[in-house]
Every structure is written in C-alpha cells, then in structure tokens.
C-alpha cells in the first residue's frame, strides 16, 4: 500500500468505496484487523455498527456524516471503536476511528506502540494518566491500610493490659454490658494472688512483674477460648465465663487454678511461691436485671469469704433470695 496523507494524520482510518468495499486502511487500523489482504473485502466483513442501532448497509452510513458511531470488531468483539464518517471522493466514505475508553486494554491486546498513534493524538497522554492514577490510588490505598492498622492497634491497646497482654478494666465493662444486654447467663470469678506483696517486697518489682506475667499465662491456659481473662490492676484478676453456671465445673476450674498458681515460679535464680484466692458469683437469667457493679461486688464478697477462710481456696457468692429460701425450709 502506498502511504497517503491520511496514514500520517489518522492512522486509524478506514477508506471505503461507494459499495462499501475497503479501499485502504490506515497502518494502525490494519494492525487491529489482522487480515493479510483486507482491500476489496466488505466493510461489514470486519466491522459491525453497534450505535446507532440497525445500521447494516453501507448506504445507511453516509447520512450519519459527522455523527458519533460506535463500531465493534467482528474478530475481537470486546473492543469498540469510536468513529466518525465523512464523504470522500468517488462517492466513497472515510471513517476515522479511535480506541475510545477501552484504549488501555486494546493497546495491550493489539500490541500497539508509540508509533501507532499520531503525535497529535492524546492517546499517549491518556495512557500516562491512567498509569499515574493507578499509582496514586495504590499510594492512597496503602495509606488507608496503614491508618486502619494503626486504629486497630490503638483499639487493642486501649482494651489491653500492657504488662500481661490480658484485657483490662475498660474491656471488662464492655464484656459485662454486652452479656447483660444480650441476656446471657454467666459466671464471674474474682481472683487475688496470695503472697504477691511478699514477692514484690523481697525480690523487687521486676520479680513481681514476672510473677504477674506467669499468673496471666496460667489463667489463659486454664480457661476456654471464649472466656475472658482480665487484669483489673495490681494482683487482681477477673475471669468471665459466658453460658457457664455449673458450680461443679467452676469448682474444678478453681481448684486447677489454685494448684497451678502454687507451682514455684523462677526468677533470676530465685524461687517465688504464690497462690490464689477466688470468689465466684453466678448470674442466672433471672438475675440479669442487676448492674455489672453489683455482680463484681458479689464476686468480691465471695473472695473476701475465701480470704477469711485462710486463702488459697474458692467460695461462691450466695444470693440473698437463695439464703432466705433455705432458711425457710429449716
């Protein structure tokens, strides 16, 4: 094919005869058609007119001179060409096309290069912008992820105890109010370490911190996954057992905790001996109208009972109504 001025100015053009046969294709358009010898074949062999509807004959194209046309490639249907038609010599038609909004994937699919676009075409600038936009979107998405991560971490820190990694008093409030409002029965265990003050006073705070960490580990290994272990502060811990009100099981758990706590803890060639005192209250569905503070007070009262009984033991809080009804039967 000899080069025409149109090949330079509009490399994506199609030149048709009056009968709709291809007279010439711009060099870049020829790349899209991938046909050995398209000249002489019919326009509709390679293209369909998608918009406007119902254009199936060449005569229908000329009346649309200057209007926007949308063509599809018959051999690569997913690619659309934006086109405009104009009258040419000898009753022919010339159509200039661009790859429109599908530019980026078409460039990839047809292996188009710099030289396939006229220097006046903004296609390269559009490709540049699409890539710049993708890079910036990635940067902004990365920033969002980092902020999200920082938020999650801040929330975790707000609800956890820095020394032991257990949950803290703030977390306990949330857990209790959630249980109460969802009407789930549960048991609350308050636990103080025995002889902890002694460790702190004789072996120092580092030893004390180590003991607290070991105690936290014990508590976490003894409970179920769904139970919550909270460090209130100092050597005071609270355990929350949702859906558990069976005294026998709570007793077994308490015994196990006390046995584990009494195992010697080594720190810096020194041995620390501690134990635990436990107070338990069980909140059955009928008692859920009381407040969280009330339940904590009950557990604390039971704990006081254990300490009065000589420590290293557990006690249950007895609700007043239960005590009263027992008295009645006596």
């Amino acid at each position: 094919m000899t080069q025409t001025p149109y090949d330079i100015l509009c490399p994506f053009h199609i030149s048709l005869s009056a009968t709709g046969c291809i007279r010439h294709l711009g060099p870049s358009m020829a790349k899209l058609i991938k046909s050995e010898n398209p000249v002489g074949k019919h326009f509709f062999d390679f293209y369909s007119v998608e918009r406007p509807y119902g254009i199936v004959k060449t005569e229908q194209i000329l009346p649309l001179e200057g209007k926007k046309l949308l063509l599809a490639l018959n051999f690569a249907e997913e690619y659309r060409l934006k086109a405009v038609a104009a009258k040419a010599d000898e009753g022919g038609i010339i159509l200039n096309c661009s790859l429109g909004i599908g530019l980026q994937s078409a460039v990839q699919y047809f292996n188009l290069t710099y030289n396939d676009f006229a220097p006046s075409d903004l296609a390269i600038e559009m490709l540049y912008l699409l890539e710049a936009k993708a890079a910036i979107r990635k940067a902004s998405r990365d920033l969002t992820h980092r902020l999200q991560g920082a938020k999650v971490m801040a929330e975790e820190q707000a609800y956890s105890d820095a020394l032991t990694g257990l949950q803290n008093r703030r977390a306990l409030e949330v857990i209790l109010s959630r249980l109460i409002s969802s009407r789930v029965s549960f048991s609350l265990m308050q636990l103080d370490l025995d002889r902890f003050k002694n460790v702190n006073d004789t072996l120092g705070h580092a030893a004390g911190d180590h003991v607290l960490q070991k105690a936290a580990e014990v508590l976490q290994t003894v409970v179920r996954n769904e139970d919550a272990v909270i460090r209130l502060g100092g050597d005071e811990f609270v355990l929350v057992f949702a859906n558990l009100k069976d005294r026998r099981r709570l007793s077994i758990l308490s015994e196990r905790i006390i046995v584990e706590m009494q195992k010697p803890i080594f720190f810096d060639n020194q041995v620390c001996h501690i134990s635990a005192s436990i107070g338990i209250t069980t909140i059955t569905a009928d008692r859920l109208n009381n407040s969280a503070e009330n339940f904590l007070r009950e557990a604390d009262q039971a704990l006081y009972q254990s300490k009065a009984n000589g420590k290293s033991c557990y006690s249950f809080y007895e609700p007043v109504e239960a005590v009263l009804s027992e008295l009645k039967h006596m």
Partner: protein, 191 residues
Amino acid sequence: MLGLINKAIENFAIDTYGKRFWNSFTRRHLNGEFTFEPLLEYEHALTFRLIDWLAEARSKTSADIMEDIGTFLVSQRNGEALRRLLRFGGANFVEFIFSLDELNERSEIALKDLNLPQLSVERINQNSVSVRVDQSWPGFEHVMAGILHSLADDYGALVFINVSPPEGGSAYLVLELIQHHFTEGRKFSLA
C-alpha cells in the same frame, strides 16, 4: 513538600544503606523511628535538610547523594512506576528529552500538589541540548542528572551529561548525545 519526595529519599536510604542505618538516622534527626507518608504534606525545607544529613552521614556531597537518588528512582525495582511514567514522554530518547519541557505540567495533571521545578530544554547544536532547571528545589539538577543517565540506558542511548552550577536562579544540564541507538535498551510497552 509532598511526602512522596521524602518517602523516595527514605526508600533510597533504606535500599542503599539498610534499614538499621535509616532507623539510627531518624532517631538522630527526626526524634525516633520515623516513616514518611507519601500523600501528606511536610515542611519544604525538611527535604533539603534530609539530603544534607544523608550526605554528612555517608561522607558524600549533597550533589552526589541527589544524583544517586535520581538513579535509584528509575532504575530499581520500586522505581518501575516512575520509569514508565517518564517513558510516556517520548518514543525515543531525543523525544523524551524534549518532553522535559512539559515535565512540570505532566506531573501536575497526575498529582496536583507535586510542584516539580520548571525545566526548559533548548537545542545547542545537532547533538547537544541544554536543560535549564529552576532552583525552586535547590540541587534538583543533580537528581535529574541521575534520572537522565538511567533513562538514557533505558532507551539504549549513549549520552554525556554535564551539570553546571546554578547561576541567576537556574542551573543547567548539558546533554551531549553520542549515539541514539547504542544498545537495545529496555522494552517499553504502552499498557
């Protein structure tokens, strides 16, 4: 200054001198471990202090550090995005060089707040051009020298680049093109 620039300096320092170097660097100069956010705005002067501190820490001149940063920006694995964006400037190295006239506008339509220095390209003779770099970012001509060296390799062109010191508010890069097509260069597909 947009954090993107400081982040690039941070990436350069970590990639070239290691994470430990960067951590002790930021502990010394930025009050603790620190990482820049590419999309946040930082004090303009901080960027240039960063470069001077890096130069001091590595016993190099600031100009050398900036040229190394320029090279790093387009030649490393994580410089691929920028390399591609620059290559949209022209089909060959000569076209690319003349596209530098528009670098400021091209970066602005991509990222409004970047405010790159204005460059202007003039032909000196058949094989040489000069690139004037305004001094809104003092020393930016050295970064450009690093970028242009790498991009010349990328296009497969052989070029000599000479940086002349700033004078009357502008610095000049003089590029002497020895061969347009010295090697095959690196492949560049548009999409």
